[in-house]
Amino acid sequence: MHGPLWLILAFPLLGFLINGIFGNKFNRVTVSLVACGAVGISFVWSAVLFFRLIALPPESRIYVEKLFDWISAGKFNAAFSFYLDPLSALMILMVSGVGFLIHIYSHGYMGHDESYARYFSFLNLFTFSMLLLVLGANLLVLFVGWEGVGLCSYLLIGFWFTKKSASNAGKKAFIVNRIGDYGFLLGLFLIFVTFGTLNIAQITEQAPRLLASGGILVTIMTLLLFVGATGKSAQIPLYIWLPDAMEGPTPVSALIHAATMVTAGVYMMARMSALYMLAPLTMGIVAAIGALTAIFAATIALTQFDIKRVLAYSTISQLGYMFLACGVGAFGAGIFHLMTHAFFKALLFMGAGSVMHALSNEQDMRYMGGLKKKIPITFWTMLIATLAISGVPGFSGFFSKDEILWESFASPQGNILLWIIGVITAGLTALYMFRLIFMTFYGESRVKSHIEKHIHESPSVMTIPLIALAVLSVIGGYVGIPHLLDGSDRIGRFLEPSFAHFSESAIEGHHSAGTEWLFMIISVIIALTGIYIAYKMYIAKPELPVAFAKKFKGVYTVLYNKYYVDEFYGYTVVKPFIKLSRIMYNIFDRVIIDGSVNLIAYITEWTGEVLKWFQTGYVRHYIVTFMFGVVIILGYFIFR
């Protein structure tokens, strides 16, 4: 196994620098070529390394590459090194692959934008940061990538910064992320204090020895890391930035909030599986929060009319599934769902972008409808994605979601309650997703008349990535066919060496295959029920939604206003903080700091004022001063 790992990172970084510095002078095609080319080369090289990795026997699929010694301070040594194992190989493929498709799509979508070069340079920087994150061999390199994606999300969400809501959204994303990062850093410190190193491989190896299973140290450590994950991956309580992040360009939403950045938290948890498996309490909390977030976001998505908001809450909900998986120890299932989710969610976002492109940036679904025949490619690809996310058998989402649902019950950390929440959420998912499809593409056209004349399908540079992702959304699941269906679960076995596992004794009873079949059938039925209800409400009897809203007015209002969480945070956190900042500004900044600087200036001035009287201009005075000095010096020598 050889081949420089850093090449994967070098090209996006180079793309960022070139487009960032010279992009304004290039024409649009050149900028796109540089950016897409960079990610494309990255993808090709990732594929090459992936196949080289597979060629090795499963036990030794690890490749470490050290670039240089980075920090060497006392006992703390951190090198800038990269780590390739099944997990990171899968991640780099996904990041560069989906990223590549999104870059191509952006060429079409952002074609009329003025800050073309800036967009692509940030996009490349983001890809670089994400690759750095997943390839990091120690937590410090990971953290660099972690912060990098946070920064890029700020830059890209607030891309149209002249719009107040966009710049606010960017700030919100960054600040909420920062709060999560604070917890993450504390976790890092704790890890360093315990292990003396931040190298992931060493931590994984030493964890069972140094940490008592279920002990308070490891629990706090993992909880702190999880706080960081909730920030990045938009779980309760730090998810609030993601819906607002829809202010950014739609390809940005596709890349950052569907495929890559938000998955950083899940990746981090999977990476640190050794630690998490030693902290059952944290795992329980993670699973609970994951499940709760999933159903919470799904309920909100039912009421939203902005097509991107629905997808945003859908992302939060699906991320909840992934955390649920990690929380019950099924890290492989979580990563599998991460991969399939990347495919269909990116497709959904890009499809929404295509719809918006056709409708001259109309985002409100109430003004859509009847687009099925007019933008067919968009329609069919989005339909495929929706089927995938709803967990309809045969599509990728079915396999990954089903595995998570089964593990949420069957795993030693699993619980029937978690399964119930998961299944209900699956039903809700199908419901709101098909609501989206029906409202957007079916029925009578509610499109505003001046827009209706210009409806056109997107150019092929935008539709080809859609088609590619649609194909992946179908076949992507077949690497993880469970044993139940006579599959070999290739992806599960592939990822297995990367995670820690339950000890044999923990896997108590072997749940029968019958139970597994039962649960699978129940989840499929519930998904189909969701689709049926959506059909009933939005095609057969379109008056129903309005009637429901009126009848359950209180519930509807709460859901429509996102449970008033933002307002709650604003009142309890933001307001006191602003007040405190004001006080600090008035007292500390103005009086003390400015005051002391001004004081020094004043003293200097005053000294000058006093001393100037010595410069009288009279020679005789100067001579007197001179003599004075002589007398004093001589006197000193006399009286010494």
Binding site: Y618, V624, M627, V630, V631, I638
Partner: protein
């Protein structure tokens, strides 16, 4: 014997210098200074430094002071008026400082000669005439400063002429 002569000379010297700094008329001060220089030349002769004494009279009293007198008369200096002197404090301070300085010097001299002042007076050996010795030193040990001094005098001459020349304003 020597001591008596010395004391007379010393008193004359001090008296003369006080006259220099206190007389109102500039010419009178200059004359007093000439007097002081001659007395000092006498002092030099008293201890046997004949060449230096001659030098003092010829160069210092004879040339430099004449120059001073020329300039005083050229500038037509009036008598210095006391009345509008508003820097009495400076004067007072000056006298105080000068006296303090003097006492400090005296202190140094006292401590330096604690062993008691040795008999100083010795007739200069006839074999060692002062001019011969000085000149031999000048042209061997102090050759370089000697030559430099001649350059310095040249510079002074040229400088003085240039500075005092009336500019032709046409």
């Amino acid at each position: 014997m020597q001591l008596a002569i010395f004391i007379i000379f010393a008193i004359l010297c001090i008296f003369g210098s006080i006259l220099v700094i206190t007389l109102r008329s500039a010419v009178s001060s200059a004359i007093a200074l000439v007097f002081v220089m001659c007395v000092i030349a006498g002092l030099f002769a008293l201890v046997g430094a004949l060449f230096v004494a001659a030098l003092q009279v010829i160069v210092y009293a004879g040339a430099v002071m004449v120059l001073f007198l020329f300039i005083i008369m050229l500038l037509n200096l009036k008598e210095e008026l006391i009345s509008e002197d508003d820097k009495k404090f400076t004067r007072f301070l000056g006298i105080v400082l000068g006296t303090a300085f003097l006492f400090e010097l005296a202190f140094f001299v006292r401590t330096a000669l604690m062993r008691g002042s040795e008999a100083l007076y010795e007739p200069v050996p006839k074999t060692l005439s002062s001019i011969a010795v000085i000149s031999s030193e000048l042209f061997t040990k102090f050759l370089f400063p000697f030559e430099l001094t001649s350059v310095l005098l040249l510079i002074a001459i040229v400088g003085a002429i240039l500075l005092a020349k009336k500019k032709n304003e046409k």
